[in-house]
Symmetry: C2
Subunit: 356 residues, 2 copies
Amino acid sequence: PFFRREERFLVLMADHLLEPELLSSFLDFLKEEEKGEAQAFLAIDRRLQAVYQLEEATKVWVDDEGIIRVLGKGIRDFNGVDCGCFCFSPAVLSELAGEVEQGWGNLSQALSPVITRRGLRAFQIGDCFWLDVDEPADLEVAKKKLLSRLVSPRDGVVARYFNRPLSLRLTSVLVPLPLKPNFYSVVNGLMCLAASVLFALGFGLMGGVLAQTASIIDGVDGEVARLKFQETSFGAYFDSIIDRYSDAFLIGGMAAGLISAQGGQLTVLFPAFLALAASPLSMLSKEKLKNLTGKEYYPQEEGWLSYLPVNRDGRLAIIALGGIFNLGFIALWFLAIMANLQVIYRLIKARGILNS
Amino acid sequence: PFFRREERFLVLMADHLLEPELLSSFLDFLKEEEKGEAQAFLAIDRRLQAVYQLEEATKVWVDDEGIIRVLGKGIRDFNGVDCGCFCFSPAVLSELAGEVEQGWGNLSQALSPVITRRGLRAFQIGDCFWLDVDEPADLEVAKKKLLSRLVSPRDGVVARYFNRPLSLRLTSVLVPLPLKPNFYSVVNGLMCLAASVLFALGFGLMGGVLAQTASIIDGVDGEVARLKFQETSFGAYFDSIIDRYSDAFLIGGMAAGLISAQGGQLTVLFPAFLALAASPLSMLSKEKLKNLTGKEYYPQEEGWLSYLPVNRDGRLAIIALGGIFNLGFIALWFLAIMANLQVIYRLIKARGILNS
């Protein structure tokens, strides 16, 4: 047997997609209910407007005490939808076994005498994601829904409107491959290194296109990680280190290329060093603030600054455009100004946050 | 009146130095004791070996229940020392007032009938710092003790054996000035900027001496802040941003000076960019790890790495020596290797910490 006789057990529909948070909060709920009288539980979704193919779903009527009184596909009065995620006690199992022997064909039908006798305790899943995948068409919907969940509210302007739509397509193609998210972080870093060599050798157009492609790939590692539930703390750490090196390579390569092109004139070193000094402070200031306040810092709440290309997506776009249009000197100055503007903005903001 | 009739109140000796943590943990203790029967409390130190001028101190005998049964300067049997930090209820105040009217000259004497009647509840201060300052000679001891408390266990090798002893002397001279800790952070940054200009113009010796002096000043902001109890989160944030810029200035200035000296040869840009890429990652990796694990990261626990000049004190010393001995090219390569070695070390360590 796959469960111990005396223990409660979960019954999950094999064709339902559930996000792990749904299950873990269901388990927390069950833990709290452990000493209660209820013997049967069902996770339900009350966001009726948002349920995909509501007509196909199994509906429920939950009373004011949180007990499901009616369950079925065709019921008229309902205020929730069955997410395909049950918990039963061994006592309920024997009852269900009895019903099945008497000829009830499926779980919903076999449950109805149990519901009449005992009621079924409802667990509301809140904002969690789930999806019933029945038809081949549903599979496409499932893919789209999972991909759309990958867009981060922290995305900068370039990421949101240019990189993310492209990286999502790339991710949907790459995700079946048996490659870890960190692999894409490394690919991203190597592409930036290659782009910086191209810049240094004077191939600005190729370097620029490669740098922007790397910026798109930069989204893939996180997307694959979230899609495959392979997000790890080390992955986040590794990615952030690779990104800092990539920034430095690109600025260094662009500066070296410009010095060569201008016959050894060194004025370009000034914006290059200013840009290189400020770029890592973008992330450093966020992390430091998070540590000092104990709260997440949201770049999307930075007012007018969040419309400027100051985050990594924006910085890479400046470098890429500088290479493509042979405007490296202007790009480095623009980058230096943007990156340092962000540092000053956050310094002032940090003063307000930390002194209050 | 300076207190409300119905409330308990603290009595502190005006000539005792107490660290704020001593008072705050005493207050926590009093909060817990609020519903108890005790009406009088005294903070005591049981580290008898460590008490300064034990013969002058007021001693106590604490019984197994934590009640002080005897208190006085000349008592023979004692197991604790009075830290000059009492809490009384209004009832005890009236009793004390009565004793004083009957002619008892000081608090210790006036307390003895109270102790006989009620006992005095002891609060053990643990590792907290306090000092009774009576004579002019004690003032010097107080200064030394306060200064010695400023040495950070996080100090790198150069900081511990070279910078810190000098910065402590400097701090003891500067601390009476009405200047905020952030002022010294700015001075440190400006000195690094000046040193980098000197490097760029070819004055390596002067630049090197100035850079190392800045490294010493870098300790003063934190020391003054801790000494004056003016430590702020914003101060820590501000200092860390200034330090990152200072590093970048120095590396950039040194690289520019070398390129000029070598008639425009650009090979030095390679170690300069590698050093500049890795330097901010020293701090970034610590902050990121702290955020991901929720725990402090201790560079002093990095084994063999903690003996190498990889932290800021070490990096500045490399730059300073490179300038002073006209070995900038070697210094930049050494710096690049050290800084990147640290990044790789922490990457491997982070993998172990975060995957476990």
